[in-house]
Amino acid sequence: MSTIARRTGAAGSRIAGLGHYRPSRVVTNDELALTMDTNDAWIQSRVGIAERHWASESETVITMGAEAARMAIADAGLTPADIDTIIVATCTLPSQIPHASTQIAAILGIHAPGSFDINAACAGFCYGLAVASHTIRAGAGKNVLLVGVDKLTDWTDLTDRSTAIIFADGAGAAVVTEADVEGIGPVVWGSDEEKTEAIHVTDRNSYIYQDGQAVFRWATTQIAPVALEAVAAAEVDLSEIKALVTHQANLRIIEAIAKKIIAAGAPEDLVIGKDIITTGNTSSGSVPLALSRLRESGGITTGDLVLSIAFGAGLTYAAQVYRCP
């Protein structure tokens, strides 16, 4: 009887390009204060957001994702014809069929790619980065386009100050390619199946519900240890980590995680992704948006070691170390 062949791919994988898309409409805290009982100081002290981007009707999960993807492909020095696999991390598609990645492929003219979406909510990008890396090392693809995109405002009660001040829209993308030397460390991922209700949408006519205190407690106590596990799994020294780019949930959560990472031995001048201040919480889009901004601003540069951890509804999380393209 024949044995099924085992295919092996490249020795390693790396991020080769980054892209992002922020909707054109900027919504300030003062604007939100016109329609709900809140104000700039209240919002900034609780979640650290000064302004966010909200998509227009014509800026959809698909169009925002496609724009971020286009930029990432160019940044990688590739063309759409080079992409053989597309993975889209999203949890806010208005219709689940067809899935997002095939629609983005159609817009960009990417022919016959392997194509699927993943939903790990706000943890989606780091899950997707692991899947993209595994795809390349298994030989299933050579140039994988990974998009993280969400249009949370479609699923948010914009008069509810517990969620409307936080949630926003945007997309980020990365191209993951083959590498001789590993550029993406082992993923540490997991979930807490006892907290499925902490963030949920009841049905297609409902808005996102979030138990803010429960999520805050979980994120500020359970997430930093997972990030440290990812550093250990990559077998790099914590002192070599240049930047921490977490899911942009709430500035206070980001700062609480960063404090623990620094206390564990990361550099005192660790660069910390704080894109949330002007972008809000964009779920699957937040890590690549923050990463792309840090690189644009010169906070990180090619070859720097970055530690990312994303976490969200599920509750679910994923972390890895990788090199900035």
Binding site: R217, R252, A256
Partner: protein, 79 residues
């Protein structure tokens, strides 16, 4: 550990989390109105108190701890 020690320890935690001077954290003060501590800071205070005093302070219990005295009593009767 005496009630006095619990109050002193809790006041230190409140100062570290919120910046309110420990001396202002007296038994009769309410966390929300008198000390201006928001719901997320209350979670941080609870987590720090759990570590320091070896108690469990679940989120639904937090809502009942209106005053500093409420918190001290809860900690002392649950540790």
């Amino acid at each position: 550990m005496s009630t006095e020690d619990t109050l002193t320890g809790l006041a230190e935690i409140v100062e570290e989390v919120s910046g309110v001077p420990a001396a202002d954290v007296t038994a009769d003060k309410t966390f929300t109105d008198d000390l201006d501590i928001d719901s997320l800071s209350m979670v941080e205070i609870a987590v720090a108190a759990e570590e320091r005093f070896g108690v469990k302070i679940p989120d639904d219990e937090l809502a009942n701890l209106k005053t500093v005295a409420d918190a001290v009593t809860y900690i002392d009767s649950n540790k």
